[in-house]
């Protein structure tokens, strides 16, 4: 059985994008090791509310590592340090030690303004997808699914690229605030599939242009994004995006 631990929690409070923000602190006592990080924050919030205070605001929903909602910067790492790719909601308190200090901050990036506390606005990601992150396929009567044969290897690779949950940890980790890992994962998924080829050039250009327009920085190959991505997206995707992008530009 897991042990209980006690620790000091420092958590970021910020009342809207213009507020300067500050840390609040609290001693958390006897938290069981099999509590998830977000359940620990639920406990914090129960305490705060029972004292008549406003709860600590953070995004979360599925709590299974798939919706991409949770987005906490824990002890200097997006989603905290876990052994393999995992999201904030998949982090368990058994990974911390008795007497630790745990610091919780929001994603900090020009592309993601703070709404409240650790809840940030990531609608920029939707805008990038809207610029071209799709195959234009009319609803109705497409051809039989098996009419397009796709080698298993390509399908698997496309699936890996498609696993991105749009959490934004890559942006939060990047000193330039670049969204290249996110963008390149979508571009790669569709570039690897025959259905995506016809629009490949247009897609790469449109998504990169939108990303630049929305204030995300350039990629300087520091690989910080890859290290924190909970879905283990690879920077090989960025190389592929660059190839697609250059090819598209050459054809202009």
């Amino acid at each position: 059985m897991d042990k209980n631990i006690s620790f000091k929690l420092r958590y970021w409070r910020q009342n809207g994008p213009k507020d300067k923000g500050h840390f609040d602190e609290r001693e958390m006592k006897d938290i069981p090791g099999d509590t998830s990080f977000l359940e620990m924050l639920d406990i914090l919030n129960e305490e705060l509310v029972s004292e008549g205070k406003e709860p600590f605001v953070f995004d979360h929903d599925c709590r299974e590592g798939i919706c991409g909602m949770c987005s906490l910067y824990i002890n200097g790492t997006p989603h905290g340090k876990t052994e393999r790719g995992a999201t904030t909601c998949q982090l368990y308190m058994r990974k911390f030690k008795d007497g630790d200090t745990i610091t919780v901050e929001p994603w900090r990036s020009a592309g993601f303004p703070v709404i409240k506390d650790c809840m940030v606005d990531r609608t920029a990601f939707d805008k990038i997808i809207q610029a071209g992150g799709y195959v234009t396929a009319r609803t109705g009567q497409p051809q039989d699914a098996n009419a397009i044969l796709i080698p298993k290897q390509d399908a698997d690779e496309a699936m890996d690229c498609a696993s991105c949950i749009g959490c934004g940890a890559c942006v939060a980790a990047c000193k330039n605030g670049s969204a290249m890992l996110f963008v390149s994962s979508k571009v790669s998924q569709l570039a690897l599939l025959p259905q995506g080829r016809p629009e490949a050039a247009r897609r790469a250009k449109a998504m990169v242009a939108k990303m630049d327009e929305l204030g995300f920085g350039n990629c300087t190959n520091t690989r910080a994004c890859e290290a924190v991505c909970p879905k283990c997206e690879s920077i090989a995707n960025i190389a592929r995006l660059n190839r697609e992008f250059i090819a598209a530009k050459l054809n202009d």
Binding site: D59, G65, Q90, I115, A145, A155, A162
Partner: protein, 659 residues
């Protein structure tokens, strides 16, 4: 009372949908531009509907409570989606998928709807592939399939353990394409607060901007709700934290009938509850039952030792294990439908055979399949699920535990049933229109296709069928009569009144200023629901449950505390508004469960079972859809109307998974 006309088209079941489409009214392209549709929800149902309607040329307003449409709860579905493609050449057909779904639903679904679902299932797969959904493939490049509970064919398409994610991202990309084209306008972090009815027709909604806290009005020619299921009425469930039944309850209070609320699905393979701090339960995909074997000890003393932590599952040799599903249901074994598997687990645990410290868990074991297939193949199939299980419990099911008499035993998983899906929902006719004109309901929030129990991989199918292939046709039959109706002003008194009612409710809740947090009351609600309105229901228990629900409502109204103000983000207020509706929902479930004096599918009344403990249906008295009408106040009991079920193509039988 509203009329209950199911509008099932004439003709043999296999021709109904074709006939319907041939004769329905259509809206011409120039008129489509003048018609507005509100779609609430961006899950599989909502996103696919909004995208399709936008593409057809309607002007669409699409709402969701998350920060992005891509985060709707559908994203969490793991296992797969059914279709009658018969790619495996194992004898599948539209009829067989239809038949399995009706049988799996314990003969409580509407035949015509289910047939249509099976009929369009193949188009869904084609559509998703065209969008670039990376389904699993075989080496030859063709699509791969797996089998799921309740079926003897392999018809489930999947994308690793992330099928819902990939399907939703497909629908999200179609939606994004329409947003770019200007046909769909998105409202994220907006929550529907009420339905606005003008002259007896749904004409708009009041929504709360969750960032500013302001109430806003939206008008349209028709309203579609696609807001998901009500499983979180039980507090602990596999649903995402934000899943709620508020939009459905708002429609119910405005006159939409609520059908079959008692049909709640309990999923057999969830990670057992570990403490009182837990906020949600994690599902382990049902696909695990393809290769995992479910068991408990044969001997009570072994179970006791397991409960005390003196021994581990792997210490118990083969001959002392009771593979109770294989024993009781030789034909389907570990692949019996969910309700059957869940009850069987409860039966063993009630008999004292539970295997964890709470006595509320059974084993799911991969030793046999690892020994047969090799660890590599098993990891290829379930590796990410094993990882997920280890992340949560610190136990790795792919790890060798010990050898007894030359047999290798691996650490088994522990699982237990949990609330997962709700078959009941807003009543809709064949056109997916509710009893309120101009109000449509799609996806999990309607009651339509699963009867008393949903088969695995059929919810995704239904959501996308509704959104891509059914609603876009049927809604035109309604909108064709609306082309002369000009756009509405949100200054109409009906909008002002609806907004005022919402504002009053918010003020009332803010001003209670009691001592209890929303979650603490929600937990009590969940406890009562699980205890008295859960897996095994009795008349007596349901009556106690209803009494306790009244007490919870009182507690809520007198002791609730919401910190902060109505301006800006207030997560406690959001939760309180949803809890208000969960309590009403809980009562509705209990009323329906009390009325249905039979056991069928997900609804099990202990008084109605065979000597072997199997569910006993009563087709003579309960062969109907129970439709509940709101009586103007949450304190009044709802009134029941019945939609009789008519079966023409299928002979109603006792469900049998034994032989």
């Amino acid at each position: 009372m509203a009329t209950l006309d199911s509008k099932i088209p004439a003709g043999p079941v296999a021709e109904k949908w074709t006939n319907y489409k041939a004769h329905q009214k259509l809206v011409n392209p120039a008129n489509k531009r003048r018609l507005d549709v509100i779609v609430v929800g961006t899950g599989l149902a909502g996103a696919s509907a909004a995208a399709s309607l936008g593409e057809m040329g309607f002007r669409v307003f699409n709402f969701c409570i998350q920060d992005s449409p891509r985060r709707a709860h559908s994203i969490a579905a793991q296992g797969g989606i059914n279709a009658a493609k018969n790619y495996q050449n194992d004898g599948d057909s539209v009829y067989r998928l239809f038949y399995d779904t009706v049988k799996g639903g314990d003969y409580r679904a509407r035949e015509a709807n289910v047939y249509r679902l099976a009929e369009v299932s193949n188009s869904i797969i084609d559509q998703c592939v065209a969008q670039g959904v990376p389904f699993a493939r075989e080496y030859g490049g063709m699509l791969a399939n797996r089998s799921f509970g309740g079926a003897q064919v392999s018809r489930t398409f999947y994308a690793k353990g992330q099928t819902g994610q990939q399907l939703l991202l497909g629908a999200y990309s179609a939606l994004s394409c329409q947003v770019n084209a200007g046909t769909v306008k998105l409202y994220t972090r907006y929550e529907m607060m009420d339905l606005v009815i003008v002259d007896g027709r749904a004409r708009g909604i009041i929504a709360r901007n969750l960032v500013t806290g302001k109430l806003e009005r939206f008008a349209a020619h028709a309203v579609v709700i696609a807001t998901g299921g009500y499983g979180n009425a039980y507090f602990l469930s596999t649903n995402a934290m934000g899943c709620n039944c508020s939009a459905a309850m708002q429609c119910y209070r405005k006159g939409a009938y609520f059908a079959n609320p008692a049909y709640v699905q309990i999923h057999p393979t969830c990670i057992p509850v570990h403490g009182d701090k837990q906020s949600k339960l994690t599902l382990m995909s049902e696909s695990l039952r393809n290769d995992g074997r479910i068991w408990v000890p044969k001997k009570k003393e072994d179970a006791l030792k397991l409960q005390k932590g003196e021994i581990q599952g792997s210490d118990i040799p083969e001959e002392d294990r009771d593979y109770y599903l294989e024993r009781r249901y030789p034909a389907f074994g570990n692949l019996v439908p969910r309700d059957v598997a869940s009850r069987a687990a409860k039966e063993r645990c009630d008999a004292g055979m539970g295997v964890n410290n709470t006595g509320l868990a059974v084993f799911l074991d991969f030793s046999e399949s690892i020994n047969r297939l090799g660890i590599d193949i098993v990891l290829q199939r379930y590796g990410n699920l094993f990882d997920m299980y280890e992340e949560i419990t610190d136990v790795n099911p792919g790890e060798l535990a010990k050898e007894i008499n030359g047999v290798k035993y691996y650490h088994p998983m522990m699982i237990y049933p949990a609330i997962h899906y709700t078959m009941g929902g807003i009543w809709v006719d064949y056109e997916l229109q509710t009893t309120v004109k101009g109000l449509f309901a799609i996806g999990e929030c309607n009651f339509s296709d699963h009867g008393a129990n949903r088969l695995g991989a059929s919810a995704l199918m239904q959501g996308l069928a509704d959104g891509y292939f059914v609603l876009p046709y049927t809604i035109q039959n309604y909108l064709a009569d609306q082309i002369t109706v000009p756009r509405f002003s949100t200054e109409l008194p009906e909008f002002a009144e609806a907004e005022k009612n919402v504002q009053d409710l918010i003020n009332r809740l803010m001003n209670i200023k009691g001592k209890k947090s929303v979650d603490s009351i929600h937990k009590e609600l969940g406890h009562v629901m699980w205890e008295y309105v859960g897996m095994g229901r009795t008349e007596e228990g349901l009556k106690i449950g209803l009494q306790k629900l009244k007490e919870i409502r009182k507690d809520f109204e007198n002791n609730l505390f919401i910190p902060g103000t109505t301006e800006g983000v207030n997560i406690e207020l959001e939760k309180a508004l949803r809890l208000n509706d969960f309590i009403t929902m809980g009562e509705l479930i209990a009323y329906d469960a009390l009325n249905r004096n039979e056991s069928c599918g997900g609804h099990f009344r202990e008084e109605y079972q065979t000597e072997e403990g199997e569910a006993k249906r009563d087709d003579e008295n309960f062969f109907y859809v129970a439709c509940w009408e709101y009586q103007g106040s949450d304190d009044k009991a709802p009134v029941l109307y019945k939609e009789p079920l008519v079966y023409e193509a299928i002979k109603v039988q006792t469900r049998n998974y034994k032989s």
